[in-house]
C-alpha cells in the first residue's frame, strides 16, 4: 500500500513539475541573460503572465488556412506533454516507461516539429515557408546526434540487473556516481552533444535567435507569425515544455540521482540542475552570436562527432 501511495505521489509531483515548471524555466533564461547585460530584466513570472494574456485574447485566422493550422498547436503541446511523461523528472520513475521508450521520445519531439512546420506551410506565406524549410533541414541533421546520445544512455543502463530493459527510467537510474567515475570521459562529450541538441530543438543561439527583429534571420519565430491568441499561448507553452523535457534528460544524466535518496533531497538537486542549465543556455546566448545559416550544419556535425566519440568510448569501456 505504501508503495502504491508513494508511486501515486511520485506521479503527482511529476505532473505538477511537468505542467507548472516550463514557463519558469523560460523566464529564468531571460532573467539570467538580462543580468549579464546589466539589466534587471522582467520578473520570473513574466512567461506565466504572457501565457495568461494570450489565452484570454481573441484569434485571427488567415482565410488561406485549414484545420491543419488549428490542430498544429494542439499537437505541439500534446507531443511535448506525452514526451514529458517518458522522462524521469527529479529522479522520479517516469509515469510511463517501457522498453524502447527512448525511440518514442525522439519521435514525439519530431511529431511536434512536423506539426509546427505543417501549420506554417498552411498559411502559404513565403516567410513561414522559409522558416519551415530551415527548421525541417536543421532538425533532420540533429536527429542522429540525439539518437547516439540515447544509444549511449541505453547501453550504459544495460546491466546484469536489467538485461533487456531499455526504458529511459531504467537506463538513467543506472547512471550512478560510480558510473561517472568510469564513464566520465564518455559522458562529458555526450552531455555537450545533448546540450547542442537542446539548443537546436529549442531554437536558441547559435542555431536560431528567438529575439531577433528581422524575419529573414529567424527559424522558429517566423513559423508562428500567423498564430495568435490561445493558439500562440499553446505554442509558447509547448516550446517551454519541450525545453524542460530535454533539459531534464540532460540534468538526469548529470545529477547523481539515485533511488537511495528521498525525493526531498533529489528535488532540490534537480531544480538546481535546471538552474544551471538555464544559466548555461543564457551564457551561450550572451557569449556567442547566431551562426550564419550555412554554418549551422557544421556546428551540428561537430556535436554529432562528439556524440559518436562518446558512444565509442562507452562501447570500449564496457568490454
Amino acid at each position: 500500500v505504501l508503495e502504491v501511495l508513494s508511486r501515486i505521489g511520485g506521479i503527482a509531483v511529476h505532473l505538477v513539475l511537468l505542467l507548472m515548471l516550463p514557463p519558469l524555466l523560460a523566464g529564468l533564461i531571460v532573467k539570467i541573460k538580462a543580468w549579464f547585460a546589466g539589466r534587471r530584466g522582467p520578473p520570473l513570472t513574466q512567461p506565466y503572465l504572457d501565457l495568461k494574456r494570450l489565452w484570454h485574447k481573441g484569434a485571427v485566422y488567415s482565410e488561406v488556412t485549414t484545420e491543419v493550422f488549428r490542430i498544429g498547436p494542439l499537437v505541439i503541446v500534446a507531443s511535448s506533454l506525452v514526451a514529458g511523461l517518458l522522462v524521469p523528472l527529479a529522479g522520479i520513475t517516469a509515469p510511463l516507461h517501457f522498453t524502447g521508450d527512448l525511440v518514442v521520445l525522439a519521435y514525439l519531439l519530431a511529431l511536434g516539429r512536423v506539426a509546427t512546420i505543417l501549420a506554417a506551410l498552411d498559411t502559404g506565406s513565403a516567410f513561414e515557408g522559409m522558416g519551415a524549410s530551415r527548421e525541417a533541414a536543421f532538425s533532420a541533421m540533429g536527429e542522429p546526434t540525439l539518437f547516439l546520445v540515447l544509444v549511449a544512455i541505453g547501453s550504459l543502463g544495460q546491466t546484469a540487473a536489467h538485461p533487456s530493459d531499455w526504458s529511459l527510467t531504467a537506463a538513467l537510474a543506472e547512471l550512478t556516481p560510480d558510473k561517472w567515475l568510469i564513464y566520465g570521459p564518455a559522458l562529458v562529450p555526450l552531455g555537450i552533444a545533448l546540450f547542442v541538441v537542446i539548443l537546436l530543438e529549442n531554437s536558441r543561439i547559435p542555431v536560431d535567435d528567438p529575439t531577433t527583429h528581422l524575419e529573414l534571420t529567424m527559424i522558429h519565430e517566423v513559423m508562428v507569425l500567423d498564430h495568435s491568441g490561445p493558439d500562440l499561448a499553446l505554442i509558447e507553452y509547448g516550446a517551454a515544455q519541450k525545453l524542460l523535457v530535454l533539459g531534464s534528460l540532460l540534468v538526469d544524466m548529470l545529477n547523481f540521482n539515485s533511488e537511495q535518496y528521498s525525493l526531498l533531497v533529489r528535488l532540490p538537486i534537480y531544480l538546481s540542475g535546471l538552474v544551471l542549465l538555464a544559466a548555461a543556455i543564457a551564457l551561450t546566448e550572451v557569449a556567442v552570436a547566431r551562426l550564419r545559416m550555412r554554418q549551422v550544419p557544421r556546428f551540428l556535425f561537430g556535436a554529432f562527432l562528439l556524440a559518436a566519440f562518446g558512444v565509442v568510448v562507452v562501447l570500449f569501456e564496457k568490454r
Partner: protein, 675 residues
C-alpha cells in the same frame, strides 16, 4: 474442404479475365473490361479463400504435377508465409481493381489480370522453372502497364518504360544465372529432365561457395524488382510517367512479392543453419544505402509519384535492414535481435504496402482532378479535396515515421533490435549497430522533411496553378474516396494497436528462427512484442490530449472575438502575387539538398543578376538519380561501344538468322555426340 482446387483455380480465373478485355473491341470494350474486373475479383476472392485459412494455421496446401519443361514441374505450395503474402497482395489488388474500375482502359485491365495471375504463381511456385516463367510474365505485363500511361508516347514516357524493361531483365538475368551455379561440379545431380525445386537449394546439398554466389545473385535479381539500392535506378524514370495505380501495383504488390521471394530464398539457402554473418551485414549495408539514396532522390524530386517511388526505395531499405538484422541475430545466436529484426521487417512490409496503395491511389485522384502531380503546380488541395487531402496527410505522417501511425511501430521494432545489438552482438558489430542507428535516425529525419514538404506544399497553402485552384472531389469518385478512407483507417489502426498487427506475423517470425542454435526463441518472441502495448498507451494519450486541448481551446475562443483575414506575411499584404510567392518544392529543400551532394546529381542553372535594378532573374534546379547518372550511364556507354563491334552480325535478313539457328543446333548436336 479440399482447398487445393481453389488455389489452382485462382491464377486461372485471374488470367481468364484478360481475353475478354483484349478481344471485345468497339462498343463491347467497356463490357470486356468489366468482365476482366469481375473475373479478377472472383480470382482474388478464391485466392483469399484458400489463403486466409492457411494463414490462420490450418495446414499447408500442396500440388505437384510433372511438366515437360527443363527442370520443370507444376509444383505449388501454399504454406503460412506464402499465405501471408498471398492475402496481403490479393486484398490490396482487390482495392486497386475497384479503384480503377471506372477509368481503366480495357487493354490495361487485361494486362493487370495477367499481372495478378503471375503474382499469385510467383508467390506459390516451388519449382524453379515455373517460378521463372511466372516471374517473366510478371515483368512483361508490368512493363506493358507502365507503358500504358498517357505519357507513353513522349520521349520521357518511352525512356521510363525502357529503363524499367532493362532493369527488370537484368534482374531476371541474375536469376537465370542461378541455374548454372546449381549445376556446377560437386553436386552433379542436376539433370535436365528432373524437376528442380526451391527445396533443393539447401546447405547440405550445396557447397558454401555455391550458397554465397546464390545469395548474391538472389540479392541482385530480386533486389532489382524490389528497388533495393543500388538496383533502383529505374524508379525515378518509370514512376514519373506511369499511371498512379500502376505505381501502386509496382510498389505495394510487386516490390513486396520480390522481397518475399528474396527472404524466402535466403531462408531456404540457410535452412535451419546459421547464415554467414556477412549476409546479414550486406543486407543491412544495402538497406542503409537504400535509405540514403532513396531519400536523396526524394529530396530532389518535385513530382509526387517520384517522391513516393524514392520513398519506396527508402522503405525497402528499412525492410532489408530489419531482415539483415534478423539474420545477424541468428548468426550470433541472439534470439531477441533476430525476433526484432524479422518482426520489424515483416510488419514493415505490411504497413508499407498499405501505405503505398493509399498514397499512390490518392495521387491518382489528384492527377485526375488537378491535372498534374507536379508539386510546383499544386497547393491548397486540402481545402478543395478534403477526403483525399486528409488521407494524404495521414499517409505522409506515417511515411515520416511518426508515432500513432503504422510505419512507426515497425521502425520502432527495428530500432529496438539495433539498440539491443549495441553491446550484445560480437564486438565488431557494436560499431556497426551504432552507425546504423545514427544512419536510420538521419534517414528518418530526411523522410520527415520530404513528406512534410510533399503534404505542406501540395495540399496546404494556396493553389499555384489554375487547374489546382479548380480541383474538387466529384460525387462520381465517392467509391474511390471510401477506399482511401478505409486504407487510412487501417494505417491508423495498425499504428495505435500494433499488438494486434503483429499477431499476423508472430508465427512467421517463429518459423524464421529455425536456424537459431541457442534456445530462448519463445521467450524472445514474447518479450520482444509485449512492449508494443506501450505504443498503444502513448498513442491513446496523444490523441486524448489533443482532443482535450481542442475542447479547452474552442471553449476559450467561443468567448472571444475570432476574425478571419489575409495571411499576415509580415505586413506585405500583397494579393495577386501571393500564390507564386510561396515556397516551392525546390526552395523548400534548398537548405538540405546542397548538403548531401553525394546523394543525388543536382544541376543548377542560374541567370546572373547584374546591376542595381536587375530586370530579370531566374534559377532552374534539376535533380537526377545518382546511380543512373554516375554509374549506369558510363557503364552502358562502354557496353554499347563493345556491342557495336558485333553489329555486323545483325544484317536484318531472316534467312541469315535461320542459318544462325541451324548452325547452333548442329554445334549442340555434335557436342552431345562427342562428349
Amino acid at each position: 474442404v479440399n482447398w487445393t482446387l481453389p488455389m489452382l483455380a485462382a491464377p486461372f480465373v485471374l488470367a481468364l479475365g484478360a481475353p475478354p478485355a483484349w478481344l471485345l473491341g468497339g462498343r463491347g470494350a467497356r463490357l470486356g473490361a468489366q468482365a476482366g474486373q469481375l473475373l479478377a475479383l472472383v480470382g482474388a476472392a478464391l485466392g483469399l479463400g484458400c489463403g486466409i485459412p492457411v494463414l490462420l494455421g490450418n495446414g499447408t496446401l500442396e500440388y505437384n504435377h510433372p511438366w515437360p519443361m527443363p527442370f520443370g514441374a507444376i509444383h505449388l505450395r501454399l504454406d503460412p508465409l506464402a499465405a501471408l503474402f498471398l492475402v496481403l497482395v490479393l486484398a490490396l489488388a482487390a482495392v486497386l481493381i475497384v479503384f480503377t474500375a471506372r477509368t481503366i482502359a480495357p487493354a490495361a485491365q487485361a494486362w493487370f489480370n495477367i499481372l495478378l495471375a503471375s503474382l499469385v504463381v510467383v508467390i506459390l511456385a516451388r519449382n524453379i522453372t515455373l517460378f521463372l516463367v511466372a516471374w517473366e510474365v510478371m515483368a512483361v505485363s508490368s512493363f506493358l502497364l507502365i507503358a500504358s500511361g498517357r505519357l507513353a508516347d513522349t520521349p520521357e514516357g518511352q525512356e521510363g518504360a525502357w529503363s524499367y524493361l532493362i532493369a527488370t531483365h537484368l534482374g531476371t538475368a541474375c536469376l537465370l544465372a542461378m541455374l548454372p551455379v546449381l549445376a556446377s561440379p560437386g553436386t552433379g545431380t542436376l539433370r535436365i529432365d528432373q524437376a528442380l525445386d526451391f527445396d533443393d537449394l539447401r546447405p547440405g546439398r550445396l557447397t558454401p561457395l555455391q550458397l554465397n554466389v546464390l545469395f548474391l545473385l538472389a540479392l541482385a535479381g530480386f533486389g532489382t524488382k524490389a528497388a533495393l539500392a543500388p538496383f533502383h535506378a529505374w524508379v525515378a524514370r518509370a514512376y514519373r510517367v506511369t499511371p498512379a495505380w500502376v505505381a501502386a501495383a509496382s510498389s505495394a504488390l510487386m516490390a513486396k512479392v520480390s522481397l518475399y521471394v528474396l527472404f524466402r530464398t535466403v531462408l531456404e539457402l540457410t535452412a535451419g543453419h546459421a547464415p554467414p554473418a556477412w549476409w546479414g551485414l550486406t543486407l543491412i549495408g544495402l538497406g542503409v544505402l537504400s535509405g540514403f539514396l532513396g531519400m536523396g532522390g526524394a529530396i530532389g524530386a518535385t513530382r509526387i509519384k517520384v517522391v513516393l517511388g524514392y520513398s519506396s526505395v527508402e522503405n525497402v531499405g528499412i525492410i532489408s535492414l530489419g531482415f539483415g538484422l534478423g539474420l545477424l541475430g541468428i548468426s550470433d545466436g541472439a534470439p531477441a535481435i533476430a525476433v526484432l529484426g524479422f518482426g520489424g521487417a515483416l510488419y514493415h512490409i505490411i504497413n508499407h504496402a498499405i501505405l503505398k496503395t493509399l498514397m499512390f491511389t490518392a495521387t491518382g485522384l489528384v492527377e485526375q482532378n488537378a491535372g498534374t502531380d507536379d508539386l510546383a503546380r499544386l497547393g491548397g488541395l486540402l481545402g478543395r479535396m478534403p477526403v483525399v487531402g486528409t488521407c494524404v496527410g495521414i499517409g505522409s505522417l506515417a511515411l515520416s515515421g511518426l508515432p500513432t501511425l503504422n510505419a512507426f511501430a515497425s521502425e520502432w521494432l527495428i530500432y529496438r533490435g539495433l539498440f539491443r545489438s549495441v553491446g550484445r552482438l560480437s564486438p565488431a558489430n557494436h560499431v556497426m549497430a551504432m552507425a546504423t542507428v545514427a544512419a536510420l535516425a538521419l534517414i528518418g529525419g530526411l523522410a520527415a522533411v520530404c513528406f512534410t514538404g510533399l503534404f505542406g506544399i501540395g495540399f496546404l497553402g494556396v493553389a499555384r496553378s489554375n487547374e489546382a485552384g479548380e480541383a474538387g472531389e466529384p460525387i462520381s469518385q465517392r467509391t474511390e474516396r471510401a477506399l482511401l478512407a478505409g486504407l487510412a483507417v487501417a494505417v491508423l489502426f495498425l499504428g495505435v494497436f500494433p499488438s494486434f498487427g503483429v499477431l499476423v506475423i508472430r508465427s512467421h517470425v517463429q518459423a524464421m528462427l529455425a536456424g537459431l542454435k541457442a534456445g530462448g526463441a519463445a521467450d524472445a518472441l514474447a518479450s520482444s512484442f509485449a512492449p508494443l502495448s506501450g505504443l498503444t498507451v502513448v498513442s491513446l494519450l496523444l490523441i486524448g490530449t489533443v482532443v482535450v486541448l481542442k475542447l479547452l481551446r474552442d471553449r476559450r475562443l467561443s468567448a472571444q472575438p475570432v476574425t478571419r483575414g489575409p495571411t499576415w506575411d509580415c505586413g506585405y499584404g500583397y494579393r495577386a502575387a501571393f500564390p507564386r510567392g510561396q515556397y516551392t518544392p525546390v526552395s523548400f529543400m534548398d537548405p538540405l539538398a546542397p548538403m548531401f551532394p553525394w546523394l543525388t546529381v543536382r544541376r543548377e542553372r542560374k541567370e546572373a543578376i547584374a546591376g542595381y535594378f536587375p530586370a530579370s532573374g531566374a534559377v532552374e534546379v534539376e535533380s537526377d538519380d545518382l546511380i543512373a547518372e554516375r554509374v549506369l550511364r558510363p557503364v552502358f556507354h562502354f557496353a554499347g561501344l563493345g556491342i557495336m563491334a558485333l553489329r555486323w552480325i545483325q544484317r536484318g535478313s531472316i534467312q541469315l538468322y535461320l542459318l544462325f539457328l541451324f548452325t547452333t543446333l548442329v554445334v549442340m548436336l555434335i557436342w552431345q555426340i562427342l562428349f
